[in-house]
């Protein structure tokens, strides 16, 4: 723990500070009234209990999708299909609930989580399987499968499952017994907060204190060495991508059950890519996903607030993400 902070802490701090400075710089240069701009960027998440709750809720989702990316990177695989896997997990939950309206709440939630994890896991594991058979890189297949899934989901949302009474392009609201209990009403924050923390701690214990986690990281850090130690790399590739996809599926289901309560078109948008940024800022370390998610969702929330006020239409979070990817990929990936 101490050595972890010593090794990765400075990088995390550096990323946070420079991202904040960069956004402050952009606002100061382009915003009509920089003072208000800065205030809404930095302080808006703390302004009301609703904003605070939404900030934390977004962090929760980032933690889960970030953990999915941690699994992939620690196992040496690139999972670029986060968006599609989250979408699939969410859609599976929506469809399941629409048929099982009479089910007891907790049971329905559990089954939906399992189904979502399993289906997204399979979608992602398919890329691993293709890689093993044909040698086609998972970088491209995860992405393509994800894009395909998103289009199929659009068909379901605009077609068979569309809510005719709503002005939005969306499915009907899921039955209330499946909606996760809220913690900080009226914000979206719900009990998935505890699940996310549990998931992060579990991931950390698994990767660093379980023999299977040892194998996992071995494959990520040095394939030749892993083979030498008797790890079946082909199996591990499928396993890594399955788990990474499954965690994304969980994020999708939780997004539906806790936040949107219905399958609005593109409800998953951004969570997959932001999960990648969150994982990279934390040096792909499971524990550092927590501060990294808090930081990143704060930034995204502030940027959204700026957009809402209508005075600043630049996609600030896009700038920041580009900056983060640039810094991270130029040095970080090579060193670890």
């Amino acid at each position: 723990m101490k050595s972890l902070i010593k090794r990765k802490g400075p990088f995390l701090l550096f990323m946070m500070l420079s991202a904040y400075l960069l956004s402050a710089g952009i606002i100061l240069s382009f915003h009509i009234s920089p003072q208000i701009g800065l205030k809404s960027l930095f302080l808006s998440p703390f302004a009301t209990s609703m904003a605070l709750g939404n900030w934390l809720n977004r962090s929760v989702l980032f933690m889960i999708s970030g953990t999915a990316v941690v699994y992939a990177f620690q196992g040496g695989e690139f999972n670029l299909g986060g968006e599609g896997q989250i979408c699939l997990g969410g859609m599976v939950a929506v469809i399941f609930f629409s048929f099982m309206t009479g089910l007891w709440g907790p049971a329905g939630v559990l089954v939906a989580l399992v189904l979502a994890a399993f289906s997204s896991g399979l979608l992602s594991a398919l890329s691993g399987y293709i890689k093993n058979i044909t040698g086609l890189s998972e970088v491209i297949t995860t992405y393509l499968l994800s894009m395909g899934t998103i289009h199929v989901s659009r068909y379901f949302i605009t077609g068979p499952f569309k809510d005719g009474d709503s002005y939005l392009v969306t499915t009907p609201e899921i039955p209330s017994q499946f909606q996760l209990p809220e913690l900080l009403s009226p914000s979206h924050l719900n009990i998935s907060l505890f699940f996310a923390i549990f998931l992060v701690m579990g991931t950390w214990l698994f990767l660093y204190y379980r023999p299977a986690g040892y194998d996992w990281r071995l494959c990520g850090v040095n394939g030749d060495f892993a083979a030498y130690c008797g790890v079946d790399r082909h199996k591990q590739t499928v396993r890594t991508l399955f788990v990474s996809g499954a965690v994304n599926g969980l994020a999708g289901a939780i997004l539906i059950m806790g936040t949107s309560h219905r399958g609005i078109q593109d409800f998953f948008s951004g969570y997959g890519w932001n999960g990648m940024a969150v994982s990279l800022i934390g040096g792909n370390n499971p524990l550092l996903v927590i501060p990294s998610a808090l930081f990143f969702s704060h930034l995204v929330q502030g940027a959204e607030r700026l957009n809402l006020m209508g005075q600043f239409t630049y996609p600030l979070d896009g700038f920041i993400m580009a900056f983060i990817f640039l810094v991270v990929t130029s040095g970080r990936l090579h060193r670890d």
Binding site: S3, L205, Y209, R210, P211, Y214, D215, L218, V221, N222, D224, F225, A227, Y228, C229, G230, D336
Partner: protein, 446 residues
């Protein structure tokens, strides 16, 4: 020019009081080195592992920056290095490996593959080695990787070439060729015989200092060099345990001996598959990348094979109890390492020792060693031989692959010569001598 001593007519590089301390571990690898490298002389640099040879070489080539002292080159001179294990990209072709990303060789916007290939072909022809510029680098032998780096340095016009443990066949004629081109070769080697045969001047380093500087042909040079190479060791020697097994129950040492060109590595790959299925020891020939992860800690590298056996009730690894057992044995065998150290902060010798110890402690009954003594100094070589003998006494079957017939004769109970991928008849201990074995490795006597 005032204030500087001018470089003498003959010296191509002039080192004055060179010092280098690594801030990470506080090790002083070079400590006040004064050295003039004369133009065109073959300089041999010797010393045990960790004596500071590689650091000195890196300082001369500019890969590392010196803390103290000065390095001056003669007009137009520059230094390059051919590493013992050059960094390669497996999927690249030979000419891509040389030109890819090389700013000094590719000044233009595009590079013309045809012209570059011709240049590469020319330079290999000139050196007298057949190497196709279109070959994949990953499929080549280690000496060919060195050859690629050599060609790169020649194309860049380096005039001082540091060859770290060169493995080229026909090294002496290569050196003559290099000198004709006006290049000053500096050779880092452990092999005393090679050093005496090839060198015009022999430098011996110990603990970052030069302790011996003699020109070839001086009196009793071999004795003096050997005497200086004997390391001062505080480590307690391995005592041969009294074995409870009788002669018949003891294990055997089998040695497969052949040149690299005869398919020694193919043989290793075939054997390795079999050995890896159980908990048998295995030291691969290119062990630096394959058998350990340099960015991981000593602890993580050392417990790798036992990761499944040190588990607590909840299935979590019991690192503490492992550390108690594992680190004690490291200490016993004189490996100076703390569990939290990163593997790449250890010296090459200690890395290798740790690896040997780890593999010899595995529970399986067999051990596969592929060229385990390459790049080991004398002390560590004895350490290795002791481990091998002890394993034999414990009833283990040791199988060793080597390109060194002398080593084969010294260790092997049974010796199997290898030529062009086929194994020859098995020779029992005492059935062969050096001349015969060398001939068998060369394919004669069949």
């Amino acid at each position: 020019m005032r204030g500087y001593k001018s470089v003498t007519e003959q010296a191509v590089v002039e080192l004055r009081g060179i010092g280098k301390t690594f801030p990470l571990n506080g090790v002083t690898a070079c400590d006040g080195v004064d050295l003039d490298i004369g133009r065109g002389e073959t300089l041999i640099l010797m010393g045990e592992n960790g004596a500071g040879k590689s650091t000195l070489a890196s300082l001369v080539t500019g890969k590392l920056k010196h803390d103290r002292g000065s390095i001056r080159f003669a007009e137009g001179a520059s230094a390059g290095m051919v590493h013992q294990k050059p960094l390669i990209i497996h999927d690249f072709t030979v000419s891509d490996m040389i030109f890819g990303g090389n700013r000094e060789l590719n000044r233009g916007l595009f590079y013309s593959a045809g012209k570059e290939k011709a240049r590469v072909r020319d330079i290999f022809a000139e050196l007298g080695y057949a190497l196709n510029p279109e070959d994949r680098v990953g499929q080549l032998a280690p000496y060919q990787h060195q050859l690629i780096e050599l060609a790169e340095n020649l194309l860049m016009g380096r005039t001082v070439l540091i060859l770290d443990e060169p493995e080229f066949p026909r090294l002496s004629s290569l050196l003559i060729l290099l000198k004709k081109k006006g290049i000053t070769p500096v050779i880092i080697t452990h092999k005393v015989e090679d050093a005496l045969e090839l060198g015009q001047r022999i430098i011996l380093m110990k603990k970052g200092r030069i302790v011996l500087d003699r020109s070839a042909g001086s009196d009793k040079l071999k004795e003096i060099v050997l005497e200086n190479l004997i390391p001062e060791t505080k480590k307690k020697p391995l005592t041969k345990q009294e074995s409870s097994l009788s002669e018949g129950e003891k294990g055997q040492i089998t040695v497969i001996v052949g040149h690299h060109e005869s398919g020694l590595w193919d043989e290793e790959e075939k054997l390795a598959r079999d050995y890896l299925s159980e908990d048998n020891g295995y030291i691969p020939s290119l062990n630096r990348k394959k058998a350990m992860e340099e960015s991981w800690s000593v602890e993580e590298n050392f417990m790798i094979h036992r990761r499944k056996s040190y588990t607590a009730p909840w299935g979590l690894l019991r690192k503490k109890s492992f550390l108690r057992d594992g680190m004690k044995s490291l200490e016993e065998y004189g490996v100076a390492a703390r569990p939290g150290d990163r593997m790449n902060h250890l010296s090459g010798g200690n890395q290798k020792k740790l690896l040997l110890l780890r593999e010899f402690q595995r529970s399986g009954n067999r051990i596969l060693l592929s060229e385990p003594s390459s790049a080991l100094d004398r002390a560590n070589r004895d350490y290795l031989y002791n481990l091998i003998y002890r394993a034999k006494d414990e009833g283990k079957e040791v199988l060793m692959l080597t390109a060194d017939p002398e080593e084969a004769l010294r260790l092997g109970d049974r010796i199997i010569p290898l030529f062009k991928g086929t194994r020859g008849e098995t020779l029992e201990r005492g059935e062969s001598n050096l001349a015969q074995l060398t001939a068998l490795m060369g394919g004669s006597n069949r």
